[in-house]
């Protein structure tokens, strides 16, 4: 949002800006392939000064986004995604500078503009939406006024700006925009704040819209709404849209074309559907394979983990930057860097054959930077079918009965009953605010205390951690969500693990324990803040396993991690489970992640369990209407209703105590007069294939419950297919 919120009056006179901006736009928007419309980036090289010499964050990046097109940029953290966004905005942090390259928007060479003209350009043609809009909205100004301010900078009068602001708030599908404009930022939910951010970004009618991780930190349901909104707006505003994300599935659903950034280089680029179904670069293939899919469990397919990390910007290898992590790498890869070349006839991309010479790197075709692109194959998931004999689970490790918790007067959990068998993985899903974390904390003895019974192996566990016996503590351990605060920042890895072994009376040495969670001895003397997110989480897992626990509570252990790292950590958890026969209570908002690891799944909604049963049965249905809303990637609610109170993601905690089904007001299958007044019981569905019981808290008959459409293939590919019809418009 920084772009449109420029305070310089220079931006207010849009007519004085470059007439060329508007002049070429119309022609190029409708025009053919050779126009200069949209964003063209050529050979962009950006570096930051550092004590170890210049850190090259971007190296020769070239890409093109046409007006009305959405271009997705993916890659792990530290690969230069955000640097590209900052370079486009002309606001590189930390003394960074553009060393070479050209940025042109609608034919205007942005780098040639003077500082004054550049400010004007940024106010009129450029807009950016950041990850956490909550912090970029001014908490002391009403949201309408904040959007109106941007309109004023675009040259509107006071009154015009005010009505335009309301119009924009309506355009981003906020309910009752006129009323909402009078609200303060803190009165809005995270999703609504993000929409206000988008509204403000649109106020200047930008020609280039940069969305930097726009949905990170939002609930899946809210994320879906924001993405739908971006889809719809893109066609209306006819601007070039750059979507930066680490989430491949999201990019596949939203973008027409995708570029993969690795170590500051574009390693692959092409149409979204094509690139994500048949990647030609081993890095892309590894990223695609690392995305967990709804309904695919670890018993069917083990996730191939991508080892290592991207190289540091100061320490790029001479040859292919990916060579160290690549299974296909040979001598050629280590000595010469491959060019970004069109995929040969083996690639399934259309129209890449008749490319003129010299413009290969700006083509629409599928291009890849790899010596061995012909040999790259997406690891097919049939290959790795891993029949782990489902050992009969011995029931009764953990029994929770009638557990209730509240923060002050606000009830968070009401009457939770839960069972976990020996060696079983119970997944717990639900949107934020549903009480997942509170339940996880209650099991280990943390957080607010309240009524309810927790039994471990049949023996009751005291509610408070301080009253639990050392032996019980040892047997129930926890892995926390945020890798940055889960380890003492003053300690080294070795100290963390040594303390865990000492207090949990674990056997073996620190090095053994580190080895079990795949941490090299090189890391032991390092302070925890210098580790990567994945390494921190490995240390945390190692710490939890130090004393041979029976139950490990995992509270969103992978939600803060990159896709590739997430796959590796999930794999580690799966291996640890098989090796130790430990049980997990695995909390996540990501159904695919839960489905990968869990044997059974419990769905939490507003502090109640609305459904519990075998993982595949719960995720694929027939299941509770709320579970259905969580699993379905396409928003089933018509756009007009989006954002209204009671949608998933807008939890109103206070209403848990009200009579009737908690989900009644947002349920598409509500039975009038029944669901509003009578709380449905948690009843078992008859005739399951497995022995485990599948129960649903709903008034509907089992036959009427919704079903998840069986996945036809990888979810990423399926989502990408949805986008195909729209490509014809471009």
């Amino acid at each position: 949002m920084s772009g449109p919120r420029e305070r310089e009056p220079a931006g207010s006179n849009r007519a004085a800006g470059d007439p060329a901006v508007d002049g070429t736009a119309g022609a190029a928007g409708t025009g053919g392939t050779a126009g200069t419309g949209g964003l063209i980036v050529e050979g962009l090289t950006v570096s930051y000064p550092s004590s170890a010499g210049p850190a090259v964050a971007l190296h020769g990046v070239s890409l093109r986004i046409r007006p009305g097109e959405t271009y997705g940029l993916v890659g792990e953290s530290g690969c230069g995604k955000s640097t590209l966004a900052a370079a486009l905005a002309g606001v590189l942090p930390g003394g960074g500078g553009i060393d070479a390259g050209r940025i042109a928007l609608d034919g205007v060479d942005v780098r040639a503009l003077s500082a004054r003209e550049h400010r004007r350009w940024r106010a009129s043609a450029f807009a950016m939406v950041h990850q956490g809009t909550s912090s970029s909205l001014d908490p002391t100004i009403r949201v309408g006024a904040q959007v109106a301010e941007v309109c004023r900078l675009a040259g509107l009068s006071r009154a015009q700006a005010r009505s335009r602001a309301v119009e924009l708030l309506g355009a981003v599908r906020l309910p009752e925009p006129a009323t909402l404009a009078r609200r303060w930022p803190h009165e809005l939910s995270g999703g609504q704040q993000q929409r206000v951010g988008i509204a403000a970004a649109l106020a200047g009618s930008p020609r280039l819209l940069v969305l930097d991780e726009p949905t990170t930190g939002l609930d899946p349901a809210v994320e879906r709404e924001i993405l739908d909104l971006i889809q719809a707006l893109r066609r209306q505003i006819d601007a070039a849209v750059l979507l930066i994300s680490h989430d491949l599935a999201l990019v596949a659903r939203t973008c027409e074309r995708v570029g993969v950034l690795y170590a500051g280089r574009l390693v692959e680029q092409g149409a979204a559907a094509d690139l994500l179904t048949s990647p030609r670069h081993p890095y892309t293939a590894a990223l695609v394979a690392a995305v967990p899919r709804v309904g695919v469990s670890r018993r069917e397919r083990r996730m191939p983990a991508l080892p290592g990390q991207p190289p540091a910007p100061t320490d790029r290898p001479a040859g292919c930057a990916f060579a160290d992590r690549c299974a296909l790498a040979d001598e050629v890869c280590r000595t010469s860097e491959p060019p970004l070349a069109p995929t040969g006839p083996t690639g399934s991309s259309a129209g890449s054959a008749d490319l003129p010479e010299g413009v290969a790197d700006l083509s629409d075709g599928h291009t890849v930077r790899c010596h061995h692109s012909i040999r790259v194959d997406l690891p097919r998931f049939q290959e790795q079918v891993n029949e782990v004999a489902a050992e009969p689970a011995r029931p009764g490790l953990l029994t929770v009965r009638g557990l209730s918790r509240s923060y002050g007067r606000t009830p968070v959990l009401t009457g939770i009953d839960l069972d976990i068998a020996h060696g079983e993985v119970l997944g717990l899903v639900g949107e934020s605010g549903s009480g997942k974390t509170t339940l996880a904390r209650a099991v280990v003895g943390l957080g607010p205390h309240g009524p309810g019974e927790i039994r471990l192996d049949g023996r009751p566990l005291p509610v408070a951690l301080s009253r639990r016996r050392a032996d019980d503590r040892r047997r129930v351990q926890m892995v926390f969500q945020d890798p940055d605060t889960t380890l003492n920042p003053r300690h080294t890895v070795g100290m963390v693990l040594r303390r865990a072994l000492a207090t949990l009376r674990g056997e073996g040495t620190v090095a053994d324990l580190a080895g079990r969670v795949q941490l090299g001895p090189r890391l032991l003397p390092m302070r925890t803040p210098s580790l990567s997110g994945g390494q921190k989480q490995r240390v945390a897992i190692g710490r939890a396993f130090a004393g041979d626990p029976r139950l490990v509570v995992c509270d969103e252990p992978v939600s803060a991690l990159d896709v590739s790292v997430q796959a590796a950590v999930l794999e580690l958890l799966a291996t640890a489970r098989d090796a130790h026969g430990v049980s997990y209570l695995f909390v996540s908002h990501d159904l695919a992640v839960v489905g990968y690891l869990a044997d059974r799944v419990a769905v939490l909604y507003r502090g109640r369990i609305v459904e519990v049963g075998p993982a595949t049965a719960v995720l694929l249905g027939p299941h509770h209407p709320y579970t259905h809303a969580l699993t379905t990637p396409v928003d089933p609610v018509p756009p007009g209703r989006a954002g209204q109170p009671g949608r998933p993601g807008q939890v109103r905690r206070g209403s848990t105590a009200a009579t009737g089904c908690g989900y009644a007001e947002s349920c598409p299958r509500r039975i009038d007069g029944l669901c509003d007044f009578v709380d449905p019981p948690l009843l078992p569905l008859g005739g399951g294939v497995t022995t485990a019981v599948h129960s649903v808290r709903c008034h509907l008959d089992a036959a009427d419950l919704p079903v998840f459409p069986p996945p036809a293939g990888p979810a990423v590919a399926a989502a990408a297919e949805d986008e195909k019809p729209e490509k014809e418009n471009v």
Binding site: V444, G445, L446, L465, S466, A470, R473, R474, V476, Q477, M478, F480, Q481, D482, T485, T486, L487, N488, P489, R490, H491, T492, G494, M495, R499, A500, T503, L504, P525, M526, R527, P529, S530, A540, R543, A546, G547
Partner: protein, 308 residues
Amino acid sequence: MTSAEVDSAATRPPREEAAASGAPHRARDQARARDGSLAPRGLVRRPSFVVGVCLLVGWVVVAVFWPWLAPADPMAQNPSLRLLGPSGGHLFGTDQFGRDVLSRVMAGARPVLEVAPLATALAVAAGSLLGLVCGMRRGLVDEIVMRVVDMFAVFPSLVAAVVVVALAGRSTTTLVLVIATFSTPMVTRSVRAAALVEREKPYVEAARLRGEPFWSLLWREVLPNVSGTVLVEATSGLGNAIFAASTLSFLGLGQAPGSPEWGASVADNRVFLQQCWWTVLFPALAVGSLVVGIALIADNLREQATRR
């Protein structure tokens, strides 16, 4: 050099860890630069911090080595040279007994720098312990300690000190104990506030989950992470303690009248302020420069600590 001891006491645990772990230099620097609180490099670049350190170090050197540095005996009376203005022979002039003011100012540094750092060290040690225990344990102990702390905070400390010294008799020990007692509440509050923030973090919860003993929790887990706060409290407390020591001496409750201590000197000569300003100004400037120097250090440390 007691003041330096206070500083190093606060910074010691993390430094030792780094040395013991033998981490590669780069990793250690990165870690230090990231959490920032004790990063010396950024501080050295700030002129105000350097000025503060120079003032403090200068006074410490004078306090230790004044017998060799002072041009004359600070106690030697010379009736023929009474109340001379600053000149080449006596840079800061002489007082009513003909004693060299420069020598007295230099000699006065020692009693101040004996009492204040000792009192601060005591206060920081006691306050940190109380603050950590209260912040981590909460409950009744916390409630009682914090009410006592509140009581101390509302009580005019100078009045109380006067009463205590009058009752207990004048001695360096009394002075140190009184100043330490009245500095402890501030330290307790700050450290408790910092501990309250830390206790909610997952790494502390993880330590509780694995059954880390309470004292080990305080010492190993929380203390290293509130050491920035402790350090800031130590430096700002030192400035206050110097002021308090001089004030009590000025009131005749610290050092004996006739002592070269700055507060006592100002008190002895305040009747001559109209005619012989140098007898009062230079000891007063000495207090001021030392306190300002310490305040500059404290400000910079605080800024560094809050920047993480």
